[in-house]
């Protein structure tokens, strides 16, 4: 039976969609069968981040309303044998779907996939309720900023109230240089404040922008962010992986010639 994981944050722009794309890609690289569901109805984004925007025929609302079968709406990512996307509807709004319908959809997909990843919209309204309805586990994404951490705390409270079985934290866009000089909260600080278990720290890495530009998630690539995402995937499937040394290793060439 597959596991349903919702990726959520409260605040917008902290990296939910990027995280969903990369964790999904990473899990597919670990030979798990994965479907990504964009639940942000009216603000479709996961398709462009995945580079699959030109292949959409049907969407989430079509499936819910019975205009097509689930299989017809799933876009197969040709780069990986086990990775699928169910895109959101762009011309509808969040009231087109109810939490019960989302729960039913998740149940229908469990038999077919190992992991069902739900990319949650920002906010705490119905879109959020829809996204978490069928989930077994939540990944809360935050950045080390006061606004994002505060919203994450609110989300964690709501998830606890909904009796989410497991809630893990991802600290995104950490800048070690700023943490070192005391101008950014460390991941330890954020974990201490939010008091939930950490599952990954992703450094602020310009490769993320490049990969999003190209529509090619970088999980598993030889970049800091790529490695960090892959580690999260290993932890999701239950492996114990040490945390990256984010200060590490500019190559000697990069040290001498690289931009600071």
């Amino acid at each position: 039976m597959g596991e349903v994981i919702v990726i959520t944050s409260g605040k917008g722009g902290v990296g939910k969609t990027t995280t969903t794309a990369n964790v999904g890609t990473g899990l597919a690289k670990l030979e798990r069968k994965v479907v990504l569901i964009d639940t942000d109805i009216g603000l479709r984004n996961l398709d462009v981040v995945m580079g699959l925007e030109n292949r959409i025929v049907y969407n989430l609302v079509d499936v819910i309303e019975g205009n097509c079968r689930i299989k017809q709406a799933l876009i197969k990512d040709k780069r990986y044998p086990n990775l699928y996307l169910l895109p959101s509807a762009q011309t509808r709004d969040k009231t087109a779907v109810s939490p019960e319908q989302m729960k039913k959809l998740c149940e229908d997909l469990r038999g077919e996939f190992d992991y069902i990843l739900m990319d949650c919209p920002a906010g705490i309204e119905q879109g959020f309720q829809n996204a978490i309805a069928g989930a077994d586990r939540a990944l809360v994404v935050t950045t080390p900023e006061v606004s994002a951490v505060r919203d994450a705390d609110r989300i964690i409270g709501l998830l606890e109230a909904q009796e989410m079985k497991q809630t893990h934290l991802i600290v995104n866009r950490l800048r070690t240089d700023m943490v070192k000089r005391g101008d950014m909260m460390s991941s330890d600080d954020v974990v201490e404040i939010l008091a939930i278990e950490l599952i990954g720290v992703v450094p602020d890495d310009e490769n993320i922008v490049i990969s999003t530009n190209q529509g090619e998630p970088l999980a598993g690539n030889d970049t800091m962010a790529g490695r960090a995402y892959m580690n999260i995937c290993h932890r999701i499937i239950g492996e114990d992986v040490p945390y990256l040394d984010l200060n590490a290793k500019k190559g000697i060439f990069e040290k001498i010639f690289g931009k600071r």
Partner: protein
């Protein structure tokens, strides 16, 4: 800026952490930061009758449900370092 000011200046990361801890306590308790401040001051006032408190090290926070004792609501934790007992009073039992 004088050199002493420079030494005293807290890093902005620490400032962020302290501010968050404070505002989240209020958020979790469902009250304003002012009310939290009042609760804190009242606790200090009551305890100060009996013991000397390290006001700098004082830490009061409200957490989400994470123990069996709370019945589903948030719980208030107070960590109050005590410097020493005040002169013993005559306690009448």
């Amino acid at each position: 800026m004088a050199f002493t000011d420079f030494l005293k200046k807290k890093s902005s990361g620490d400032v962020a952490k302290r501010r968050l801890q404070f505002v989240l306590s209020a958020d979790r308790a469902g009250c304003t930061p002012e009310v939290m401040e009042c609760i804190k001051n009242d606790i200090i006032e009551v305890l100060s009758k009996y013991v000397e408190i390290d006001k700098e090290g004082l830490d009061i926070k409200v957490n989400h449900v994470d123990n069996e004792n709370s019945n589903g609501g948030p719980s208030l934790f107070a960590n109050i370092p005590i410097k020493g007992m005040k002169v013993e009073r005559n306690v009448h039992y």
